[in-house]
Each structure stands twice: as C-alpha cells, then as structure tokens.
Symmetry: C3
Subunit: 398 residues, 3 copies
Amino acid sequence: MVTSPTPPRSRPRRAGRLPGRQDWSTWPHYQAAAAGFRGYWYPVCYSSQLTGKPKQVTLLGEKIVLIRDAGTAYALVDRCPHRGVPLSEGDQQFPGTISCPYHGWTFDLASGDLVAAITDGPDSPICGKVTQPTYDVAERLGMVWVFVGDGEEPHPIDEQLPEELVANEAVLGSRMQPREGNWRFACENGYDEGHAKYLHRTSLWRLFKSMPVWNETRIVRRGRWIYRVQEKQHWTADFPGLGRWDSQAWWKLKPPTTTANIGNTGSHREVDPVIAAQEFPGFASVSMPGVLRIAYPSFIHYEFYVPVDAANHLYVGVMADFRKGTAALPFYLKYLGFVRWLFHGQFSAQDKWMVELTDAPPERLYRPDDSLLRWRKLAEEVTNERHARLRADGLEPR
Amino acid sequence: MVTSPTPPRSRPRRAGRLPGRQDWSTWPHYQAAAAGFRGYWYPVCYSSQLTGKPKQVTLLGEKIVLIRDAGTAYALVDRCPHRGVPLSEGDQQFPGTISCPYHGWTFDLASGDLVAAITDGPDSPICGKVTQPTYDVAERLGMVWVFVGDGEEPHPIDEQLPEELVANEAVLGSRMQPREGNWRFACENGYDEGHAKYLHRTSLWRLFKSMPVWNETRIVRRGRWIYRVQEKQHWTADFPGLGRWDSQAWWKLKPPTTTANIGNTGSHREVDPVIAAQEFPGFASVSMPGVLRIAYPSFIHYEFYVPVDAANHLYVGVMADFRKGTAALPFYLKYLGFVRWLFHGQFSAQDKWMVELTDAPPERLYRPDDSLLRWRKLAEEVTNERHARLRADGLEPR
Amino acid sequence: MVTSPTPPRSRPRRAGRLPGRQDWSTWPHYQAAAAGFRGYWYPVCYSSQLTGKPKQVTLLGEKIVLIRDAGTAYALVDRCPHRGVPLSEGDQQFPGTISCPYHGWTFDLASGDLVAAITDGPDSPICGKVTQPTYDVAERLGMVWVFVGDGEEPHPIDEQLPEELVANEAVLGSRMQPREGNWRFACENGYDEGHAKYLHRTSLWRLFKSMPVWNETRIVRRGRWIYRVQEKQHWTADFPGLGRWDSQAWWKLKPPTTTANIGNTGSHREVDPVIAAQEFPGFASVSMPGVLRIAYPSFIHYEFYVPVDAANHLYVGVMADFRKGTAALPFYLKYLGFVRWLFHGQFSAQDKWMVELTDAPPERLYRPDDSLLRWRKLAEEVTNERHARLRADGLEPR
C-alpha cells in the first residue's frame, strides 16, 4: 500500500443540474394520474381467491374490502364510518351483509346501507342514516374487476376489455404479481419500442432468437388502441468509433433475410390482432387505462398495469390462445411447461427491475420514445373526453 | 379459466368523501392532547425495574432518564445540554449524581445542577451556570410515577390515584405492555359502552357467560369520576329483515331473569365502587388523565392509558383485591392461575387489536357513544380548570 | 406488591425549553455544510475495490458511478439522463465507455459524451446532444479519491493531502467504515479536546496508560492546519463536594512526573508533526475538509470524515509509519497484531457510539470546546476564501 501518485486527468464538465424535460405538464392528466386514471375497471385478484372471508385490496390509493356472498362478489370502502376500523377485519353476521368487528355495525353488501348496529339494538336511530360507499364489481378472465370512478354509471366492462377476448372463447394462462414502482413506468416499459432489444438480450426467453439492434417504427391509432408498426428492422449495426453491435451468435436462429413490412394495414381498416400477428410476430398495441397487447403467431400476450398507489402497481400478465377444443391442449402444455417460467418469470423480471429503478421526470427522450409520447397523447385525449362527459352529466363543475 | 360474462350489478352509490365529524374541534383541549394531558402523574415502569443503572422512558413525547440512588428514584430530561447525548447512556461517577458518557458532565440528581464537568477540572467555569430540568417522581402500587407539567407544583399523587387504593390496603396483580395507537383510542375503547358485547363475544374470558346484546345506559358524574350506569340490559334481539342475534349458547350460563337496575345510586351520594360492584358487576368509571375502573364483585380492575407519544401508549392493567390477610390468598391463586392469562392476556389483546386499527376523526358516532362524549366533556372541563389555575399562578399568559 | 406510600420530593425546576446555542448561524458556511463542503477531494473506496464492474457510491448526497477502464478510474453522475436509471446497474459494451442497462445509452468515460444510443442505431440524432457530468478522480494512499465541486478546475490533490504523506514514502495501515451520524459530529469528536480522557477511559487501547483528568490547551494555526497545543496536564483532580477523580490504577503506567510544555512551537515556525510527535505524543491537528492528524512518537494517525449525506459519513482511518525499508517491518506486525483491533476497533467504536448519539444544536459549549470553535472558524475562513475565488472566476454571482 505504498502511495503511487497519478496526475489527475482534466475533465471538461462537472456535476450540475439534471438535463431534459423537468416535468410532465405537457400531459396534465397523465401527470396527475400518479395513482391511476379514474373511470375504469381494474383486475384486483383471482376469482378463486375471493370467498366469504373479507379481503382488503388497495386500488388507486383506496382501501377496498371485497367479499363473496351467495356466489356474487361485492366491494365497499374498507373503513367503518363509525371509528375508522377496516371492515375487512370483520365477518358476516347475517347473509348479504358484512359487520365491523368492533361494534357490529352491519352493512348491506349490495346497497352499502347500514341495516343494523347490533350493540345499539334493533331500534338504533343510526340505521337508515348511514350508507357505506360501494364499488361496482365484475368477474372476467377468472379475475375480479372493480370500477373506480367519480360517481358516474360505469361503462360495461366488455367495452373496456380487449375486443377479441369478449368476442371469442380463449384458453388463458395468467400471473398476478404486486410490484414496486409507479404504474406509468410499468406501462411505458411495456409499450416502449427501445428497451426490448437491449435489456432483454440476455433473457432465456430469447435464448435461441436473434434480436434486431434497432427498428424503424410507426405508431398508428385504431379505435381505442395505438399500434406499433415496425417498418424496418436492423439486425446488426456499426457504431462509428466504437465497433459492431448485435445480439447474434452461432447457436442462435438466424434473423429473417427479407425485412418484413406490415405498413399495409391500411389507414381505416380495423386491425384484427390475431390476423396481424400471423403476418408479423410481436405486434404491440396499448389502450387505456394501461393495457398492453402483444400478438404472437399462436397466441396473444396481455399486460394490465393496475395502480395500487403512486409507488406500487399490480402486474397482471395474461396469455390467451384462441384455438378451440382439443386444439388448445398444446397451449396448456406449452404454457405450463416453459412459457410461464421463461416469459412470465425471468423475462418479466428484467422489466420489473427497470420499472423499480426508473426515476422520471426529469427525462431526456430519444427517437424510439415516440411510442411513449403517443401513449401519453392517447391518455390525454381519452381523459379529456371523459371529463367532458362528467361535466355534461353534472358530476364535475364546468 | 374460460371467460364467463356476468352482467355488472347496478350500484346506487359510489366512493366519495368520508362522512361524519371531521375533527375534534368541539373538544379543543382533547384534540390538542394527542401526546397526552400535561399536569398529571403517570406510571412508567415497575419499581423493581429501576436500579442504579440509568433507564430511558418516553412520556408525553419527552425522553426522560430514570435512576435510583440510595433507594430514591429520580428523573431528569434525558439530553445532556452540552451536545445532546442521552444521559441514560452514562452512569454514576459520584453518589447522588449522574454523568454524561461523552465528557463527564455531572448533574446532581435532586436539583439537576451541573456540579462538575470532569474533563474541565474542578474550577470549570460552566459549573453553577447549567441546570438540567428534573421531574417529580413517586412510587405507588409497585410502580414508578412521573409528573409531567408546565412548571407548576405537582398535586399530591394520592389526590390523583383512585380513592379506594389510597384509603385501603390492597393485593395487586398487574401488567404493563407498550402498545401502538394513540392513548385516547385506548381510553375510549376502555370506557366504550358498545364494543364489549360484540368484540369480546369470542373471548375465552367470557367463555361460559352470556353477554347482553345491548344496554340502556346513563352516565353520571361523581367528583373526579364519571360512572356508566346500566338502566336496562337486553339479552337477545330481533333485527328486522335480518334475524335474531345474541351471544347465548346451551353451554353458557343463562342470563339473569330479572333486569338489574342500579339507578338507585342517588344524585349526590358518593359512590363506593366496591359496594356498587356487589350490587352490579361491571360497574365502569373513568377519570383524568385516562384511568378506567371496572368494579367486579370480588375485585376491581384498573387500566391506566399512559401516553408515550402521539402514536404509542403504555397499557397498565391492575387488579386489586381489598380483602385482608389470608383472605386475599385465593386472589393470588386466581390471578396467577387464569385471570392473568384470560383477562390481561387474550381479552385485552382484542382491545389492543382495535386500538391499533382505530382511525378517527373522521368518525360517525352512535347512541352508545354517549359514554365517549361524556368522557371528552369531562376532559375538557377539567383541563379548562387547570389552565385557569396556571393563569392565576402566572405560569400561562392570561 | 403492597402499596407503600412515599412523600413526593419537592423539585425546584421542571422540564422546559432546551438551553444554549439554538443554531450554528454564527458559522453560516459550516451550518450549510450538513452534506459536506464542496470543492474538495474525498476518498470513497480502496483502489483494489474498483474494477471494470461499475460501483455506486454516495458522496455529499450525490450518487456517483465509479468504474476502472484500462487501469484508470472514472466517475460520472450515476443517473442516466434518459429515464433516470443508475448507470451503475449497467456494464461496458465498448472499451472506454459505460452503457445504461435499459436502452443501451453509451457514454464516453473520459468526457461523459453520449457516443451511442444502441437501440436507436448508428445515426441516432441524440448522439452529440447529451453529455453526462463527470467527476475528477485520483488515486492516493491505496484509495480512490473523487473531487466534488461547483464547476471549478480542481486543485491538485497533493495540495490537499497532509504534506508529509506527499513528501515522504510511508507504510500505511487503514480502515474504511460507513457510519451513521453527520460528518461534522465525527470531525468535532475527532478534534475534541475534552472527550478522550473521559469517554475512552475504559478502552483497551488505554488499558495500561494513565490519562490526565483535564488539560490546559491552546489552539495554534499553521498554514492549512490548526494544532492543539497542550500547555499543562492535570493527572488527578479533587471536585469540591464530590471527591477525587482520575483514571489511575496500580496496574497502569504512572503518569510523567514533570508536566510537558510544548508551547515552544514558535509563532511562525512551520510545525513538522513528526518532530512534534517526538517532543510530545498525541499532538493533534485538523484541516479542511475534515481531516484529523494525531502524531504519535513512532507513527501518525489520520482520520478522514467523508460526508455521504447529512445523516451518514464514511470513516477512513489511516496509520502511517515513515521509516524506510526493513525498518518499517515492525510497524506491519504491530498494526496487524493489535493496533488494528485496539485502536481502529474498540477505541474507535466508542467514538462511533457518541457520533451516532450527538444531537446538536442546541448545544451548550464549555471551555475545552475552544478546539471546536476554532475548527468551525477555520472552516468558515477557508470557505469564504473559496467563494471569493468562485466569484472571481464567474462561477458564482457576485
């Protein structure tokens, strides 16, 4: 450990302020939606997880008690108005109700009405004067969905689900995982054009596949969805002064020799993602309130980014195979055999890693981030339309 | 996991703002006393736990060092004025003093005077210029009590303790347990008329006893205490549209066939809780600064809710038997045999559970909460009187 | 547990507000430097710990990525400007660069320039438009040093290191330990005249040595350093009304019979700490930005208090022996044999204990704290000079 003097190298620049966009005020609704967009259905747990035992979930920062009664799922604000104790700590004393554990305040599950305050007797004057706010609940895709709004009548959940899941029977494989990080980082990561080819280059899911270095991409809106259309893929690249970079290897599949072009989706023709996927794998689209759809030749992968609060989200990944009857059997085997582990496991864990580390704004976007900009623009437009409806319905001041 | 569409049920109400009382500004002193009421004696540890080794406790948010010297207990502010190091990390270098571990600043335990700064020698100019604030200390019921005030001469502790504990010898069994939650929630839970019959219906302590469903109750003030007088008890109840509810079972003791009425306590006669308890079990009273007394036929149970800080309290439960000599022996056996486990253990753990979960205001009170309202009113009145005294003594601006 | 009444003792004073100096506004630069003084070199890790694998350190509250490339150490702001992901999670794709793990943004280590955004191809328009701030790095004493400034050209590190370590070869033994507590408490503890004789009286390092009870001391500035000159040592003391106090024992070395006086350091003669140490052991000096030097007869001990953030610091202890060749061998044996364990271990752990507990201001200083006051004054003077230079260079508004 003898001291060995080294001359300090001169450095042209030193630490200062962070560069780039300082906030998201360009997209005010998006900026305000740290805890999620109101006015949507969100999946919160598997249907099989909801029984007669009350269960607490947090959604858009709101604590909600879920319970199943006579086969139907119900949801109420999980805070007894009496003294603030969570109703999810209580249980059922009468059918169709839930009772607070502290004093036996008993609420009708369907209406939220206080129908008994047990410890004040049958003639308790408080009955009829208190109603616990409820949430609309639906069950789809083997999951319980809750609508969080601002007093409006919820739209039918089938208008929000991906169309092909409503119109067709599908075989599903799915995964729900609570994750750290804002839901917007998760959604932007999912739809991000740029990261897949770099971050996931080491994933086992891509073990035998070459990945392009970079793509030329166009974003196209069709109805509720915006689609990422890849005009051109570049399988290798020479970076001036640095050298060649690609993800090819002798033991990997060779990339296609002709460059696919799916710009022929037409300007107003409705896109059928199943058909599109047969034309070109990895056809990605996104819709509000944070739903990603990636069409592969033999199945479609969905991701729902559910806002728990500003710092946490629930990752819901679903794979759907639309073949019918025994033709779907191989999907089960494939999903349980390795898709679940490679894709929903290690591949998705790389995304989880980045979503936890992302810290923006400030941010300095680059060309492939056009997919992010278009997603934020979509969110802004759709949310403007929603607020116009709320104002028209008198649920928001004009 | 095939999708099975279910029509969403219509819901009349949805999540909004919390109902009821939004704050406690009706009782301004009570609202301000999140960390406890000043001007009272509080128990902080067992006398047997206090030795010549300094011990830190937190009381009303203040860190206090306790030490026993030549048999007497002392208390000082636990922060050396020099550099903020806790004196409780130090020890004794000279009898009757405590020394800071850092530089040996040495304080007289009785007066708080800095009598030596060891590392500045015997002629240190700082001596005589610094005095550490002290607290008055007393020992009662096998516990160390500290007075936290605002500079006033403390009232004698015997004027604050339950009268029958001062006037009589008693055999005691007790329990101290640090608990989460504000001390006011603990105190309100203790005196609460409503919860006992519902929350504790499953406690082992009540295993063989039927409990009423609800009571008709009157709150009566006698001196420092307010008493809960149960006019009428209802052992079963039929809730319209829901059904019958009670805590009876074939293996439980049957409830009394005549309804007890202890409204004959007279309007100005002093209540003797021991006698009252013989008339009717479970006679509950409460006094400042948060002391609960429940008289049973053969003993009295006390709870002291000691404010540690705004988020924590010390639960001190005491059972006292006033029989003398060998007559008290069965109490010991009973207490150690099962009272300690059933009452101070599992029964009290249900209260602990609720106190941790209570989150008020906002709150929406109901008829049995008259006991809470009267307790808050008592606290307000007594505190107004205290501030009048402080102003009269020039310890508070008029 | 029978109640045994004790009369409460009367107490003259009770708890109130904290006495003494309420803030450090007397030394505004020092007060503002909670996270450290800017414009200095700081050691952050051992040279042997820095490899081609990126490493994150926090210094003055700034997250910095360090990496070694072709033998040279580099440092950059550890936050990719794109989406805020730490570069330290990435790796090297090309020599002389570091790449963000998310999208492959690739920065030149020497200049900080973005030289490639891999997933946007070789012609990415963002290249040449983004530069990541860098830090100057040097390696000395077997450690990596980073300069944190405000845009100024860093001064040569050798002008900041203790002179004798630059001018001479030395054999070193060292220790780095992350510690809780503000760096100023650590530095003040190190230079503090008062605590050593009291806090460390029980340390094994002093097992066989008597310590004085108190000293008469003078602080003398020589160039960048202020020296603690002990005029007189008092080996025992009688405290009036309390008794005698010293750290002597029959099994300890007796204190020197004549009182050493090293006031003959002259008013302008340069002090050579090696020579001074031969005159008198334990000759302590301190310099900016928080460097302690204690000269012992056979070696010099240094402590560098490195600000991590306002609540944490890195303790860097170095022992240097200036004897050459084989004469230094005994130092190795001595250091590894017991100095490392006694001094850098248990002795230093007592300081760590106090630094964690110190809570100032408020503070009430006493006579031996003249060493602290002079250190703060030095920091203030030197920082005023630095800001004058920054203003002259146009790096700070006049």
